[in-house]
Symmetry: C2
């Protein structure tokens, strides 16, 4: 399998964590988003959406969307499981992941920030305020979710990493980059700190990738 990756992509970072947790080795191709490599015809032929990550299977078929890729990895490499056993708990873990994957990250994505600049002449300060707004709004709700549920343990769900933690850690990294003070979200900060003791998470960090700048 080959992962189309970019060190700073928060969505690719999720998949790197899942691959590490499962101990799955893949080859890598680096798609430099800021240089616009996602628009190259060769990449668009593989992934018309022009986003990363994408996972190319050995038969040439391509899976897009970080959550779909991680569910695929969990189905094809079941140990250790990234989803809990009951449907109710699985729904909770997917809900946490999607609160980030659907409600925070897409609104702050590079192409949206570029479109804000092009359309509304949003300068760097306005873009930074926009970026922080959606993280804070989403984290306020996630913090209430996590702090108010007895199923939260050392990690988002119990005492072993799940798919939800694969989404939380890259989003917390984005919050740090935006200089948000995580003290406002103590449960998220505590879970992130627990993840930072696990090599599967730290080895997936942007600064540790071969294409890091």
């Amino acid at each position: 399998m080959k992962l189309y990756d970019y060190f700073r992509s928060s969505a690719a970072y999720r998949v790197r964590i899942a691959l590490n947790l499962k101990g799955i080795a893949v080859s890598r191709a680096h798609v430099h988003l800021v240089r616009g490599m996602q628009h190259d015809a060769d990449y668009r032929a593989r992934n018309p959406h022009g986003l990363v990550p994408a996972l190319e299977l050995d038969d040439g078929r391509v899976i897009t969307q970080s959550l779909a890729i991680i569910e695929y990895l969990d189905e094809t490499h079941p140990a250790p499981p990234l989803l809990p056993a009951t449907p109710e708990d699985r729904a909770r873990v997917r809900g946490i992941a999607l609160a980030i994957a659907a409600d925070i990250h897409p609104i702050d994505n590079l192409r949206v920030l570029q479109h804000l600049e092009a359309t509304f002449a949003a300068d760097a300060a306005a873009r930074a305020t926009w970026y922080a707004h959606w993280i804070a709004l989403g984290f306020d709700a996630l913090e209430r979710d996590l702090a108010g549920d007895a199923r939260t343990g050392r990690f988002c769900h119990g005492d072993a990493p799940t798919l939800a933690d694969c989404f939380v850690v890259p989003q917390v990294a984005n919050a740090h980059r935006a200089r948000l003070d995580m003290a406002r979200w103590p449960t998220l900060a505590r879970i992130d700190a627990a993840c930072q003791t696990v090599p599967a998470f730290t080895d997936a960090a942007p600064a540790r990738q071969p294409d890091a700048e």
Copy 2:
């Protein structure tokens, strides 16, 4: 089970379709988003994210996020299945759903449009252009995905509805509301037309809901 619903919410519409395809009856509560009912303390206690849909289970626990809810319904009520049998095909169907759930809809959501108005003084015309931009960008890629894959049939994946169709139909409805010409996306238009012959889809339409205005 109780569904927290809003007739015009595209995310709630997805869940209504899935419930109908499964033949599952639930009670309903209507959360009027334009009147701001999602901010009420009573609703926020159930769903801190303040979005719809949310599915309240009989034990009081709440599942958020349309994709997590539909996966839960598929796991607990397996017939008819909304995901195909192989991991590769399941990943494809989830990828189509997420191309809408993560890459189109969140950027066009009501709260984002309201924030554009408040932050950048985006008037109705600017908001409409923004709204259409993200649908067109996403649909261009989805059209290539669907048209170029032999697994596409009468519906997104083969000849029976899947989870992917639950996401496509509400997004096509949004495109119609934005007066986009679906002729640009013939495969998406054809799949939507096939779905419109199935009562599970038509009965879930916003205009058919008890809270429709």
